[in-house]
């Protein structure tokens, strides 16, 4: 008999039907939204340039959640954490969705290899495809790194690594469900140290490639950490929302207690702060140094059109949630906590939107149905994949050796 069966008897920890059904709904909604976005994008008459910017936002949004999940799984093993055991499976689902997220990235091959828009913008999405403008020579010097073929191969490499990591850790977890022997958990722990290193390197490079190279003349050494900080905020918000969803729909009633939410809330708060710290460090150093080659990137985001978004980010991604999540009562009141989790996910999306879309046109705020529908579509497809993965599988690690400690722990 599994530990969970003893400790959580009577709890609903598995549900084939509902996940299947939600998978189908999400697939349908996502597909329709995306199709509508493509149509609207074609209507723009810009060779889908706007659509692909919007697509990148949505795509990096789901990718960051999936990567955040992978990070969560690795780091729980690394620190031998017991508080998070019952939540870990939810993160594991997002971690093994990484191959599916990779597949969602295939449309980005089009802006990578097409010749539309190359003459005027340098590329439909990444302008280094055809270096042009005042920095042409500088950008051309980066050709050994920034060229479509190598870029595509790198992406393939990142996904291979992430998929391998995700599958390795999750397989250990699934194996543990079937046995009392703690060997799989021990194995996962052993690999977590290597995993975190590989994860750090690939995530950094992926952030440089996908987002930083949108302005190929610009560079910031902290950018990988910045993207990582946003991803971690996203995964904690995501975990709070999925756990709430599971519990409100009658599952995992005893497996997840208010103590777990309290801890998730604390981490959400901590990483809101961490994100603010990293974002401030990046901004401050460029503001103070005041070197044109660096400040141009922020200048683009401080035009009349984009300044409100920048302020929205400062207030909405840092100041307001910081104040909102400060109190312990907030973290233990699930409705309020759920509100802040949803808020942070939206703000994380705004963050990515702020990273990507000013490159399209820094004079005008480009926001409309295309952006909303594309991201909604990608989230729909992502959720569909997640639901399919989760369908029929146990929602908590049934036999994790630290499960008793997890259920016992209390915040002071």
């Amino acid at each position: 008999m599994s530990l969970a069966a003893t400790l959580l008897s009577g709890d609903k920890l598995q549900d084939v039907e509902l996940t299947r059904r939600s998978s189908r709904v999400a697939l349908l909604v996502g597909g329709l939204a995306l199709a509508a976005a493509v149509l609207l994008g074609l209507n723009e008459g810009d060779h889908l340039r706007r659509f692909f910017h919007a697509y990148l936002v949505g795509y990096v949004f789901v990718l960051s959640i999936a990567l955040g999940g992978l990070f969560f799984v690795i780091v729980q093993h690394l620190t031998n954490a017991h508080w998070s055991v019952t939540l870990r499976r939810l993160a594991e689902f997002t971690a093994i969705s990484l191959p599916w997220v990779g597949a969602l990235g295939l449309p980005l091959l089009y802006p990578l290899f097409t010749h539309h828009g190359v003459e005027e913008h340098g590329g439909l999405l990444w302008p280094w495809i055809h270096p042009h403008g005042e920095h042409a020579e500088l950008i051309a010097g980066k050709r050994p790194w920034l060229n479509p073929t190598f870029f595509a191969l790198r992406m393939l490499g990142y996904y291979a690594v992430w998929a391998a990591l995700g599958i390795a850790f999750v397989r250990c977890s699934f194996q543990q469900d079937r046995t009392d022997d703690p060997a799989p958990t021990v194995r996962a722990k052993r690999w977590s140290a290597v995993g975190i290193i590989v994860f750090a390197i690939t995530t950094t490079l992926a952030a440089f490639d996908l987002l930083m190279s949108l302005d190929p003349a610009w560079f910031s050494t902290i950018f990988g950490v910045y993207f990582f900080a946003g991803s971690v905020v996203a995964i904690f918000a995501w975990l709070i929302l999925t756990a709430l969803f599971m519990q409100r729909t009658g599952r995992m009633q005893r497996a997840v207690t208010v103590e777990h939410y309290h801890d998730l809330g604390k981490f959400l708060f901590a990483f809101v702060f961490f994100w603010g710290y990293i974002a401030f460090s990046q901004y401050m150093l460029m503001w103070y140094g005041d070197i044109p080659e660096e400040t141009v990137w922020f200048a683009q985001r401080q035009t009349a059109a984009w300044m409100p978004v920048s302020w929205l980010l400062v207030a909405g991604h840092f100041v307001i949630p910081f104040a909102g999540l400060l109190s312990r009562h907030v973290k233990r009141r699930l409705t309020v906590l759920g509100f802040w989790a949803a808020w942070m996910l939206i703000m994380h999306w705004v963050d990515l939107y702020w990273l990507v879309v000013p490159g399209l046109d820094s004079e005008h705020l480009t926001f409309g149905l295309i952006e909303i529908l594309t991201s909604a579509g990608l989230v729909g497809l992502f959720v569909a994949g997640l639901a399919r993965i989760a369908g029929g599988r146990p929602l908590v690690p049934l036999n994790d050796p630290l499960l008793p400690e997890c259920l016992e722990f209390q915040n002071i």
């Binding site: 401030f280 901004y283 401050m284 503001w287 103070y288 005041d290 002071i412």
Partner: protein
């Protein structure tokens, strides 16, 4: 006064945490309010058993933090943008990113003070004296035993309380008297306080005295090497030269840039042939007369008086001293008189420069151009007193020009 010492309370000792928590719960349920547990470490669950209300400390900390945050921004804005606005390295006088670190640190500093001092204040610490310290067994409260104390002042306290407390699983129960000792500080302490206070008043008194009195001694220079640098300033003494002066005279035979040719009419008052110049070697205009009047008032009127007739405060006072301590005063000449009027400007110039009779030369006090200006002004003064036109007037312009 009864011989019976006043009662502070009753102390019960427990061997382990469980019996302490259980007993604390029962004490609370019995209605006692003035009781406390004393443990070597924080026992979790005891707050709940004792009914300890959550502390307001977080609010104090929040308030202090906000004061730090606001104060930090205010401090930087006021000092750098308002009180002493100063542009440095092209930064705005008050830039939000640059003001964040200090405001942030002050937030944490003040919040930490709030946490620490707030905790002390709420706990009534420091309190070095406590009746419990007089109980020998209580010394284990900070090591390995657990205690429950019900104060005698509790409204529910009764003579039966100690017995009842013993029945709750205590390993020992004892009553704690309020020690019978005075709470007034001893005389030596009062004396010490007075001495310290008096000594502390001494420096302010000295400062006050220094503020309102004259001093013979120069100020104390704390930073000597900055206040006195290794350089010579004007009119300082120098050990390098025989005459002990830091300022050096011009070497013989040199003329400083912009100085006059010492042989010119402008510098001597004489024409090249040795005769006195009869015309002014300068452009004669209103400004020169004004200049002459000003210089005359400074240097000449001292003795000759503002009207040039020799009636000045110095002359009057010198005459009063005549004969005393070698005073041998000769009244100054009347500059408006005929004798002076007959002299050409060059001669007046020479008189000012070199002196004449008892008058000393003023060449080191008055610049050559100013001497000419004074000579010109004398002419104007005279003519004004005689009701004539000033030499700068149009009619005389050509005549006066060189």
């Amino acid at each position: 006064m009864s011989a019976e010492p006043r009662l502070y309370g009753v102390l019960a000792e427990f061997e382990d945490v469980d019996s302490l928590v259980a007993a604390a719960r029962k004490v609370r349920e019995a209605g006692y309010t003035r009781f406390d547990a004393h443990t070597p470490f924080p026992v979790h669950g005891l707050d709940d058993a004792m009914g300890v209300q959550p502390t307001i400390l977080p609010w104090i900390v929040l308030l202090c933090g906000l004061i730090g945050l606001g104060g930090g921004f205010l401090l930087q804005w006021w000092t750098n943008a308002v009180d002493y606005p100063f542009v440095i390295s092209g930064k705005p006088l008050f830039g939000l990113p640059g003001a964040v670190p200090v405001a942030y640190e002050l937030t944490i500093l003040l919040a930490s003070f709030g946490a620490f001092f707030g905790m002390l204040a709420l706990n009534g610490l420091p309190k070095w004296y406590h009746p419990l310290f007089r109980v020998a067994r209580f010394s284990r409260a900070t090591s390995d035993r657990f205690y429950l104390v019900i104060q005698g002042s509790d409204p529910f306290f009764s003579p039966a309380t100690p017995e009842w407390l013993a029945s709750l699983g205590a390993s020992a129960v004892e009553t704690v008297p309020e020690p019978d000792e005075p709470d007034t500080p001893p005389r030596w302490f009062k004396g010490l306080t007075w001495i310290v206070t008096s000594l502390a008043l001494l420096p302010p008194a000295m400062i006050a005295k220094a503020r309102f009195s004259e001093m013979q001694h120069p100020r104390v220079h704390l930073v000597k090497n900055m206040d006195f640098q290794k350089k010579f300033k004007a009119q300082q003494a120098s050990p390098l030269f025989a005459d002990g002066r830091a300022m050096r005279p011009d070497p013989a035979g040199t003329v400083a840039r912009g100085d006059l040719d010492p042989t010119s009419t402008l510098a001597t008052g004489r024409n090249p042939d040795g005769s006195y110049a009869t015309a002014y070697p300068l452009a004669v205009d209103q400004a020169l007369i004004e200049r002459g009047r000003e210089r005359f008032a400074i240097y000449c009127a001292t003795c000759h008086g503002l009207d040039g007739r020799g009636d000045s405060m110095v002359a009057r006072r010198a005459l009063l001293r005549q004969g005393q301590q070698g005073t041998n005063w000769v009244p100054p000449a009347d500059l408006t008189g005929e004798a002076v009027a007959a002299q050409p400007p060059g001669r007046i110039f020479e008189t000012i420069s070199r002196g004449r009779n008892t008058m000393p030369g003023y060449s080191q006090q008055i610049r050559p151009r100013d001497r000419w200006a004074i000579a010109l002004y004398l002419e104007a003064l005279r003519q004004a007193q005689a009701g004539l036109d000033a030499p700068g007037d149009k009619d005389n312009q050509e005549e006066a020009g060189r």
